[in-house]
Structure formats: C-alpha cells, structure tokens
C-alpha cells in the first residue's frame, strides 16, 4: 500500500546507486513520463512551495500596480534608472507576472498530478478489507503479549467487538502453520485522514479555479458622492470601473443610492471614531429604503455590495461675473492630504468670465498656522474652516479633446493671478464670504461646506465559492492532520498446553505519535474484558 504515499516518501527504498545498472534509453513518451514523475514528486512540490514563498517577497518590497498605483508612479519618479529594469521584470505586477504565475501553475499541476492517483488509490482502500495479519507481530509498534487461559476464537471475537466500538474496520483470520493454530483480527481505522488530506488539496485547486474564473465575471467600481447627490448603478455614473474579463454591462443591478448625510466623529485628539454614510436606496421596483453604511458594514443591494472607502470635504463654490450673475457653482470634492483633513481640490471655470479661470484650492476644516507661517489644519472637524484659492487664467485645455483629471490642474501654460507666482496673495475665504477675483474678473463665494463619501461597489460571484473551498481547506486540514490512520492486530495463538498467547501490535500509516499508547489501551481493555489480570 506504499502507493498511497508519494513515490519518494521516506518509507520507499533508497534509490539504487549501483553503477553496474545501465538505464534503458527513454523514448519521447518515456521522457514525458519521466518529467511527469519528476513534476509530481514530493521533492518538486516542496521546491515549488519554497520558490513560491520566495517569489512573493519582491511584491511586498516594491509598490504594486494593483494595490498601490500611486506608489508605482512615485517609485518611477524616485528611481528613474531602476524603474524600467524592474518594470521589464514585471516586479510591479508581481502576482500576475509570468514568473510568479508559472511557479504557482506548475505547483498546481504537480498538485493535481498528486491528487488524482491518490484519490483513485484511496477509493480502492476504502473498499478494501483490512489486510491479512502479519505472521510475526513482534517487530511492530507497541507489541505486547501475554499468556491466558481462554478460548482463542472467542477471545478474538471479543477483541473484534472492542476494536469495532473504537471505529476500526475489522476482518477475522485464522491460520494453521506447522500445527500451530492462531486466530486473529486485523483492524484499520482513520480512513478520514487521507480523505481530509485529499479534500484539503482539492479545495486548494478549487480556490484557485474560483478566483481565476469567478473573478472574470465580476466587477468593481468607485464613485465619489457629495451629500445630497445620488449615484445610479450604470456604467457611465462611475468615476472608475474595473470590469472582469467576461463582464457584461447588463449584469449591473439597477439601483440608486442617495447620500443624505455623511457624519464623522472625532476624539479630542482628532482621531476618527466613527464614519457613517446615511443613504436612501431605491431598487428596480422603485421601493425606497434607508441604510447606514459604515467601514465594516457594507450595504448589500441587488446582489452587489457597497463599501464606504473614504470621505472628505466638498466645499460648495460659486463664481459670479462682475454683474453678479452666477456662472459656475458646484460642490467640489477636495482630496484629504493628511489626518487633519487638509484637503486639496481644483475648480475649472471655462465659460462666463472674461477669461478661462482655473483655481487650486486648499481647504482647512480647522485653520491653524505653522511656525513657518504656512497654513495647515489642526483638527479634522469643521471648527474654523478656511478655503484658500490660487487663481490662474489662460487656456485650460478643456476644448482640446484630451481627457483631463478633475483633480488636477496643469498650470504650465496658465498665468498666475493670485497666490504663488502672482503679485496678489492667494484668496482666503470663510463660509458665507465672497471675495473678488483679481483683475476684476468677478467674485468667488464659499457658499457651503459639504462632506463627500467615496463608495466602492463590488460584485464578485466567485466569493461564495472561494469561501466554501476555504472552509473545506480548514476542515480537510483538521482531519488530514489530526486523525491518526493506524492498523492494529490482535492475535491468539493456541499453545500445546491448552493456554493461548495473546499478541497485540500496531502499525502507523502516516504521523501517529499516540500509536503505542493506543495499542497498550486496547490490550489492557481486552484483557479486562476477558477477565485476565495482566502483570506488566
């Protein structure tokens, strides 16, 4: 039964190194078989496992495009020489790189090559009866023997009952060799060990397949929503969208989310203690409902989940022309720059004024002055809010048809008219206040300060599969590692003087540190049942 182990398991014989043996020449099939054997051997699996651990390291040292795209851009700026080298080596996409993928794919092929024959073998083993009792038990684990005055056959049937009670599968044998008659029971238990083992390894393959296939059908998208605004789950309403490979836009569940209010609480030292996004949801039938989305409490709607990812301030800015007519007004999400929510945002006013106007704004929820004289925010909540604006005029480039980020203003071709590089200081505005734009362009007012929340909408149909396989992994691991697979034999040999010699022994099949104790327990229990007093 050594086949239930990988071929190079330690209990297989040492490979022959006899120089007199000449290996037969291998054909193509022979070589294929040879490589398959090599690939599915335990030694290769071990090597690939350690390689996988090693190959994972670079991805933790260098920012990854998947989890930290801005980090990659920064890395490029900081290490202009190293970047192209590493980029060619696919280090910035370590976990989808050719080399990382080939290691884990080989590992999984090796795994499958191991699982299939072992499964076949295990099914055979499950159907088989316990094997014939060995002729000599003396050299096996936990061997004990004593003489007793009893009937051999009935002693063995008592033993069998005992073993059965302990979950052993049993088989009776009797033999007469050179006039010596012996009865024995051969027993085996712990088939669940190999079952668990196979379940564990199969479930690993299951996880890989679920991730690979399931992930391709799902999608994730991000959207920033300002208080009072709504988000509709259609492709065009996302700020960014990552579809899986087989994603079709008609799978987007029809729903609408309105952000009624976003509330954040902070401790006295400015640490966040709670974020809550109070929303009103509308489903396909038009049924309205309210919900409270928190960081660890996503909203389940239409088979997708909506997560609260981030938040910040969205000052409402109104720009008027010299006559007082509103030419532009909006709540602009400002991106937080530090823990006290010093926030950065951009306003672009292409029409309605004498010139196109672009503004870079800093918003300080609680304005404070650094020793250097620069402004900063001293606390994340709105205690003493202040908005500063650098104003630029010129061609904003919006008509060129080139996509521009709403969070960035390219100031290279613009003229600074207020703030850095301009004769006039940056504009400072408090809520409700209106200040003049330079050069008589008009006025700008900080009408209101709202909060925004950024949501991550996720649909991953593979999740339930991954979770199920993960649970199987754990269950398989538990049974595969902690249930001992063992054989135990009880033999009664009829002696010439009418007594019998009872022998007990066991055999470990895999790790079984408690085997000897188990055999000792069985012999003691059996002796007790037979009414024997055993002297050690």
């Amino acid at each position: 039964m050594s086949l239930s182990r990988p071929s190079d398991h330690i209990d297989s014989p040492e490979p022959s190194t006899d120089p007199s043996i000449t290996q037969p020449k291998l054909g193509i099939v022979g070589y294929l078989r040879f490589f398959w054997r090599q690939l599915t051997s335990m030694r290769t699996a071990l090597f690939l496992l350690l390689m996988l651990a090693f190959a994972s390291i670079p991805g933790s040292l260098v920012p990854q495009r998947s989890s930290d795209p801005n980090g990659v851009i920064q890395f490029r700026v900081d290490n202009p020489d190293l970047f192209p080298v590493l980029d060619n080596l696919q280090v910035f996409t370590t976990y989808t790189s050719v080399w990382f993928s080939s290691i884990y794919l080989l590992l999984f092929v090796s795994l499958i090559g191991c699982i299939i024959p072992r499964t076949k073998h295990h099914i055979d083993a499950l159907r088989a009866r316990p094997p014939k009792t060995p002729a000599r038990l003396g050299r096996l684990a936990g061997f004990t023997s004593f003489d007793a005055r009893a009937d051999a056959a009935s002693a063995i049937s008592t033993g069998r009952a005992l073993l059965r009670k302990q979950g052993y599968r049993t088989e009776l044998f009797s033999s007469t060799v050179r006039g010596v008659t012996s009865h024995s029971v051969s027993a085996e238990r712990g088939y669940l060990r190999e079952t668990g083992n196979l379940v564990f390894h199969t479930a690993l393959v299951g996880v890989l397949i679920s991730v690979a296939i399931g992930g391709s059908f799902g999608y994730s998208g991000q959207r920033v929503v300002v208080e009072g605004q709504k988000f509709v789950n259609v492709l065009g309403d996302y700020d960014s969208f990552n579809p899986g490979r087989f994603f079709e836009s008609d799978v987007l569940a029809p729903f609408r989310i309105n952000l009624d209010e976003f509330s954040a609480s902070y401790s006295g030292t400015g640490l966040a203690t709670d974020y809550s996004a109070f929303v009103t949801t509308t489903d396909a039938e038009g049924t309205e409902d309210t919900a409270d989305i928190k960081v660890n409490e996503p909203l389940d709607i239409g088979g997708t989940q909506v997560f609260l990812l981030g938040n910040g301030y969205a000052p409402t800015i109104t720009v008027r022309d010299p006559e007082g007519t509103v030419v532009w007004t909006d709540s602009v999400p400002f991106l937080p720059q530090d823990t006290n929510l010093t926030s950065l945002g951009v306003v672009k006013v292409p029409d309605g004024l004498a010139e196109q106007v672009g503004m870079i704004g800093f918003f300080y929820p609680t304005a404070a002055t650094l020793e250097s004289g620069a402004l900063t925010s001293g606390y994340p909540a709105l205690v003493d809010p202040l908005l500063t604006l650098r104003v630029y005029t010129g061609d904003l480039g919006l008509d060129a048809g080139v996509p521009r980020s709403v969070y960035q203003l390219d100031t290279e071709d613009l003229t600074a008219v207020a703030g850095q590089g301009a004769p006039v200081e940056a504009l400072e505005i408090t809520p409700g206040e209106s200040v003049d734009l330079p050069n008589g362009l008009g006025t700008v007012e900080l009408t209101d300060v709202k909060r925004f929340a950024s949501f991550d909408v996720h649909n991953d149909p593979s999740q339930i599969w991954v979770l199920s396989f993960a649970i199987l992994i754990l269950a398989g691991l538990f049974t595969g590692l902690f249930i001992p697979r063992r054989r135990v034999w009880i033999k009664a040999i009829e002696n010439a003087d009418g007594t019998i010699t009872l022998e007990y022994a066991g055999l470990a099949r895999g790790e079984d540190p408690r085997l000897e104790a188990a055999v000792a327990d069985i012999s003691a229990a059996h002796a007790k049942q037979l009414g024997l007093k055993v002297e050690p």
Binding site: V211, N296, A470, L474, L477
Partner: protein, 325 residues
C-alpha cells in the same frame, strides 16, 4: 479614571517583566546545573556501565538494558532553580494577563489595535501557551528561550512601541479584530515553541553527529529525533491556527475593504509564512529533508513571523498600518 487603568496596566506589565527577569535567570541556572549534572554523570558512567554489564551478563536480549544505559542523563526531578523559575513565570504571567486586561478596559475594546497592545498580548499568550504545554509534554527546558524572548519583546514594546490608549479607528471596529488577531497570536505562540524546539534539535543533532561534543546540558534533553517530533506536532497546531488566520483575515478584508485578497504587504507576508510552514510539513514526507533541513525551515518560518510583525508593520507601506507609531 482611564489614566489610572492605563498606568496600572503599565505597572502590571513592568512587574511581570521584573518577575520574568528572575525567572529567566533561574531557567538559565537550571541549564547550567544540567551541564554540571552531566559532567558528574560522565565521571560516574563507567561505574554504572560496569554494573549494567555485570547485571545483564551474557544473557541474550540485553538490548533493553543497553538502551537504558544510553538514555539521556535526566535530572531525577525538577531542580530547585527550575521550580523557582516556573513559579516566577506563573506569577509573572498572571500579572501580565492583568496588564493586558486593564489595557483593554482602559481602551474599551480588545487592546490589540496598535503594536504595543498587540505585543503585550502576544507575549502574554506565548508565555501562557508555554505554561499550558507543560501539562502535555515536559518542555520546561525551553523556559530560558521563551521567557527570554518574551522579556526582550516586552522591553521593545514598552520602550519603543508604547502609545497612549486611543479610540478604536473605524476600520478596526469589528468582531473579526478579536477573532483574526487572537488566532494569529495563538498560531504565533505555537510557532515560537516549534522554532525553539527546532533550534534545540539542530544543536542536539550537531552534538549527536560529533559524538557528544557540544553544549553539555543537551545530554539531559530528548534526542534530536524526539525533539523533531515534538516540534512537528506543535507546528501542526500552529499551522491550523495560521490557516484560520489567513481565512478569517480574508473574510474580514472582504467586509472592510470590499475584497478578500489584494496582495497587501501584510497579506503577502502572512501568505509567505503559510507557504514556508506548508513546506515544512511536506519536508517531513520528503526524503533528504527530514531532520536538520526541516528544522531550518521551522526556524526560517518563525523568523518570517517575527519579520512580519516588526519590519513589515513599521517600514512597509500597506493597509495594515496599525502600528500606532
């Protein structure tokens, strides 16, 4: 009120450290005493062997007796130093536990959302598991290693990681914090014990290979084979806990960040550790990898666990940025 709970917690931790220091010295004295005992046994050995030889005589089947004469020289019972060390460790552990509980009460939640809280909890659990494991197997000889390690780590934690109790950030407000982190700590404890045993195993194997030359106290400890078996069994338990940590972490990540796996630096290292220990388990079934090679894997695995907690937490960028520093 909070301040008093917090300072009392720190006081309890400092007291536990003082007791651990005494325990560490006593454990070391015990190891030294074992060395002395071996020396005495070496002097007496020829006599004992002569007695054994004459007793067994020419009777066949004397193998049993020979085996017994070969058995490790074990101190008849725990030395005074050992009993003292255990007593101090136990009292130290109680104070340590009080320190952790008070920290939790001061914070109002399971106190492992920053490195200081995590470090005092982890060292406490490691000492606790070390004490409990003694009921299963006599591993008291690891006392100097375990208590020394925890003491050094507590020193690092109180001096370098200490932060005042702070409110729990929204990202950590989840029951998964309790489950995920606590099981990770349990896994770490078993890996710590397994790593220690593997270290002793390497020393023992070297001593056996040199025919007895090496640290003398090793003669009073189990042989390399037995040490390997014990390390393996402890690491198996650790591995199951670690697998659970990984899965629970993924479930929580799905809840909090909307994806169950994103190759965040901490996730990567947890995965690396899992893979190393998976390799360790397979090494036992691979010819040429039993013994010292697999022991090295166990040690590398534990080193990776420590790396994951210290270097990755402090210097790597990622979503698990909860060091509080």
């Amino acid at each position: 009120m909070n301040l008093t709970l917090e300072t009392t917690s720190l006081l309890a931790i400092y007291s536990a450290m003082a007791l651990y220091t005494i325990a560490f010295i006593a454990f070391t004295v015990d190891l030294a005493r074992r060395s002395a005992l071996v020396q005495a046994a070496v002097v007496e050995a020829p006599v004992a062997q002569a007695v054994a030889a004459s007793a067994s005589g020419a009777v066949s089947g004397s193998t049993r007796l020979l085996e017994k004469a070969d058995a490790p020289v074990a101190p008849p019972r725990a030395s005074k130093a050992m009993r003292m060390a255990l007593a101090f460790t136990t009292i130290g552990f109680v104070l340590h536990a009080v320190g952790v509980v008070l920290r939790g009460l001061a914070a109002g939640y399971a106190p492992w959302s920053n490195m200081y809280g995590f470090a005092i909890t982890a060292t406490g659990v490691i000492v606790g598991v070390f004490l409990l494991v003694q009921f299963w197997q006599d591993l008291k000889f690891l006392g100097a290693y375990i208590v020394g390690f925890c003491l050094a780590f507590l020193g690092l934690a109180t001096v370098n990681f200490y932060v005042a109790v702070a409110p729990q950030p929204p990202a950590l407000q989840s029951t998964w914090l309790v489950i995920h982190v606590f099981v990770a700590i349990l896994g770490t404890s078993f890996f710590a014990l397994g790593g220690g045993l593997s270290l002793v195993q390497l020393l023992q194997a070297r001593r056996e290979a040199r025919g007895g030359a090496g640290f003398r106290f090793l003669a009073t400890l189990p042989d390399a084979q037995k040490l390997e078996n014990l390390a393996y069994r402890l690491i198996l338990v650790g591995f199951v806990f670690w697998t659970f940590t990984l899965i629970a972490g993924a479930v929580w990540a799905e809840r909090a960040w909307g994806r169950y796996w994103g190759w965040d630096t901490k996730e990567v290292w947890t995965f690396i550790i899992w893979t190393i220990y998976a390799g360790y388990i397979h090494a036992r079934a691979t010819r040429g990898w039993r013994g010292s090679r697999s022991a090295w894997l166990a040690i590398i695995g534990f080193a990776a666990v420590m790396f994951n907690f210290t270097v990755v937490n402090l210097f790597f960028k990622g979503l698990h940025a909860y060091s509080g520093l």
